[in-house]
Amino acid sequence: MAVRPQTDTEGKIVKIINARVLLNHKLTENSYLWFKDSKIIDPQELFFQDHKEPDMVIDAENAIVAPGYLDIQINGAFGIDFADENLPVEDIARNKDVVAKGLLQFGCTSFCPTLVSSAPQVYHKVLPHLRKRLGSVENGAEILGVHIEGPFLNPEKKGAHNEEVLQCAERGMESFDDTYGPALKRDDSIAILTVAPEVKGVLECIPTLAKRGICISMGHSTASVTEAELGVRAGATCITHLFNAMPAFHHRDAGICGLLGSTTLPIPKSQKQHPIPSQSSPSPTNPDPRPFYGLICDGIHVHPNSVRIAYHSHPKGLVLVTDALSSMGLPPGCYHLGDYEVEVNAQNVAYVKGTKTLAGSNITIDRCVQNFRKFTKCSTVEAIEAATLHPAQVLGIEKTKGTLNAGSDADILFLNDDLEIQRVFVRGEEVDLKVN
C-alpha cells in the first residue's frame, strides 16, 4: 500500500489530474476532479464565472478515483464494541473516535455504528453519545447515524444476539419508544432499524417509524415471502445481511430472499430510497420496488456463488456491508460482542465461543469490494457503487455521499487496479495512512 504524507488542502481549490474518475456510472480516463472546502465543485463555473485557477494540483498517476466507502452495518472494531454497556460514558465517546479514525485507512469515510440487540438501559446509555457527526481527519469517518439491529427480532433467528433481550412490540409504538428512549424521535441519531416483520406488533409500527425518517430493514426473521412483502408495503426499504439470520432460500417459500424475485410490489412514486431500475426490475423506467439488501462479502457468511446469484437477480439493490465486530483490525483471540463471548480463529473467522454460529465478520469494507468484484465478475464501477452509491441511496443521502458529483462531500479514494487503497480524503482533508 503506497503511503503519502498528509497534504494541506484547507481553504484551497484542489484539482486532481491524471485520474480515472468514477462519474455517471463509468470510469473516464484522463479526467479531473476539483474540490474546495470539503465539497466537490464544478470547475466549469469556476473557470467562466469566477476566473479562478486551482491553488493545488494533485497528480493521481492514473489511479481510480472513487467516492469514499460507506459501511452501514458495523458493530465495532479495534477491540471496541459499540453496544458495550459496562463502559463509563467518557469511554463510549472516546471509543467511537478510535473506530471512526481507524476506519479511514480502509477507505471507509462514513459509517453507521451498529448496536446488536440489547436491554433498554443500554440504548438509553449509549445512544446519546452516538449522534450523527461530520467526518474529518480529526473526527475520523463521518457518523451517519446508528444502525439499531434489534431487539424486535425473531428468537429463532437470533444469530449471535442474546435471546434474553429479544422482545415483541406488545404495546406497539410505545414499546419502541420505551426501549430506545428519546433518540427514536430525534433526527440526529438513528439511521437504520432492523426488525423482523412477523414479530408481534412490529408490522403496524413500520409506517410510523419510516415517517420519522428511519430506514426500516428486515432481518433476523423467519418471515415468509408474503410476510416480507407486507413489510415492504408497510415501508421497509432494506434487508439486513441477506441469507444470514433468515431461512435458507426454499423454492416453494422463498422467504425474505424471495423479495429479490418480486414482481408484484407496488411501484414507488419517487426514486428516494429505492434502487434505480435495472434489466431485472419489474419496470425498466420506474424506481425498483424491491428493497435494497445488505450482503456480507467475506466469502464466509455467504458463499461466493450465492453472492453472484443474488447480484444478478437484483444488481442495483446490493449494498456491501462488513457487519464487522470488535475484533476487526485485531489478531486472532477472544473478544466480546454485546453479551456474548466470541472467538476468532486463525483463518480470521469469528464464531460464538463454543458453537458453530457465525458471530459477525472481521472483514474490512475495502476487502469486501475486492471480494465482490472477484466473486461476481462485475465491472469495477459496479463493485465500487455497491459500497458507495447504493448505501447512500439506502439512507437517501446520495446528493452528498456516495458519488463524485459537484455538490457532494469531498470523500475521495485513490485506488489501484486491484482496488487497494492508495490515498484517502475525508471531506477534503487527506488522511495520513501511515498513522493508524
Binding site: 479531473y32 464544478d42 470547475p43 466549469q44 463555473e45 473557470f47 467562466f48 464565472q49 469566477d50 476566473h51 479562478k52 485557477e53
Partner: protein, 295 residues
C-alpha cells in the same frame, strides 16, 4: 489562398494542430505580446483540439500567453447547459490546458443587452491588438461562424437568426428535436474573421463538398460567406479528399502539385511556415527536370 488536401479527418486535424503549434511557438508569445487565437465549435475542430491538448500535456505547446476568442454562442441557453458552447469549449479544450481563465473570451448569450455584448466583444479584440490566427469551420451552406447566407461580407459581431439548414444540422445535439435548438445566436461577423492576420478553415466530409466548391471556385458571394476568404492575403484551407468531390479536377491537381513542388524543388529548409519561399534548391542543369507539372 493555400489549399492543403489530406487523406481524412484525422490527417486534417493533425495538420491544423501542428500548424497552430508551430505558429504559436514561432511567435513566442509573452505577457505583453500574447498570441490571440480565434476558435470555433462543432465537430470539425474536435480532432484538432484533442491534438492541441496532447501538445499542451507533453509540454510542446504552452497556452500561458495565448488569448482566445470564440466565434459564437447560442442566445438564451444557460452557460452550463450541456449544449452551450461554453460547455463545449470547456470539456473539449480549456479543461485540459494551462490557459488562464481571464484570457478566454466567449460571447455571453444571456447578457442583459445583447448589442452591448457584441460591441464589447469587438472592443476586447481591438484592445489585445487584433486576432493573429482565426480558426474556423464551414457549414454545409457555406457559412463561417453563424454568418448565414445573406450576411453582409463586411459584418461585425452581432445577433443572428439561424437558418433552417443550420438548425437541422444542429438538431443532432438536441436529441434530434429541431424544436429544442435555439433560434438565435451571437456571432462574430465575416469581417471580424477576415480582419484576423491569418484565417485557417478546416473542411472535412462529403457533405461540405458543394460549399467548398462554391467558396473557392466561384465568386465572392454573400450566399456563401466563406468565399470572403478569397479576399484575405493569408487564407489557408485544410480539407480532406471527400470534401474535394465537387471541385474541378484541375483545381485539386493544382493545389496538390504545389505541395509536390515545395518538396522536390524548394525543400522545407527554404519554406517558411506561412508559405514564403526563400530560394529554390540548387539544381544541376543536366539533371532531368520535372517532366510534367503534375508529376
Amino acid at each position: 489562398m493555400r489549399l492543403i488536401i489530406r487523406e481524412d479527418y484525422d490527417e486534417v486535424s493533425n495538420y491544423v494542430a501542428n500548424y497552430i503549434k508551430e505558429r504559436v511557438n514561432q511567435f513566442a508569445p509573452t505577457a505583453e505580446r500574447p498570441f490571440v487565437l480565434g476558435l470555433p465549435t462543432g465537430s470539425s475542430p474536435i480532432g484538432t483540439y484533442n491534438k492541441l491538448v496532447d501538445f499542451c500535456k507533453s509540454g510542446e505547446l504552452s497556452f500561458e500567453h495565448v488569448i482566445t476568442f470564440n466565434m459564437d454562442e447560442y442566445v438564451g441557453l444557460p452557460k452550463n447547459h450541456p449544449q452551450s458552447y461554453h460547455t463545449f469549449m470547456w470539456s473539449n479544450l480549456f479543461a485540459h490546458l494551462n490557459i488562464k481563465p481571464e484570457n478566454v473570451h466567449i460571447l455571453d448569450g444571456n447578457a442583459p443587452d445583447l448589442d452591448e455584448e457584441c460591441k464589447e466583444f469587438e472592443a476586447k479584440i481591438a484592445r489585445v491588438g487584433g486576432i493573429e490566427l482565426f480558426l474556423g469551420g464551414i457549414g454545409p451552406d457555406g457559412h463561417i461562424a453563424f454568418n448565414e447566407p445573406g450576411s453582409s461580407l463586411t459584418s461585425r459581431t452581432r445577433v443572428k437568426t439561424l437558418a433552417y439548414e443550420t438548425i437541422i444540422a444542429n438538431a443532432r445535439f438536441f436529441d434530434g428535436d429541431i424544436g429544442k435548438v435555439p433560434k438565435l445566436a451571437l456571432t462574430v461577423g465575416v469581417a471580424t474573421v477576415m480582419d484576423a492576420r491569418e484565417v485557417v478553415v478546416t473542411i472535412t466530409g462529403a457533405h461540405k463538398a458543394i460549399a467548398l466548391a462554391k467558396c473557392i471556385e466561384e465568386g465572392v458571394n454573400h450566399m456563401w460567406t466563406v468565399s470572403a476568404i478569397q479576399m484575405h492575403p493569408k487564407g489557408l484551407i485544410v480539407c480532406d479528399e471527400d470534401s474535394t468531390l465537387e471541385l474541378h479536377v484541375k483545381t485539386v491537381k493544382y493545389f496538390k502539385s504545389i505541395e509536390h513542388v515545395h518538396q522536390a524543388l524548394i525543400g522545407t529548409e527554404n519554406l517558411s511556415l506561412q508559405g514564403g519561399v526563400k530560394q529554390i534548391r540548387p539544381t544541376v542543369f543536366n539533371q532531368r527536370p520535372m517532366n510534367h507539372p503534375y508529376e
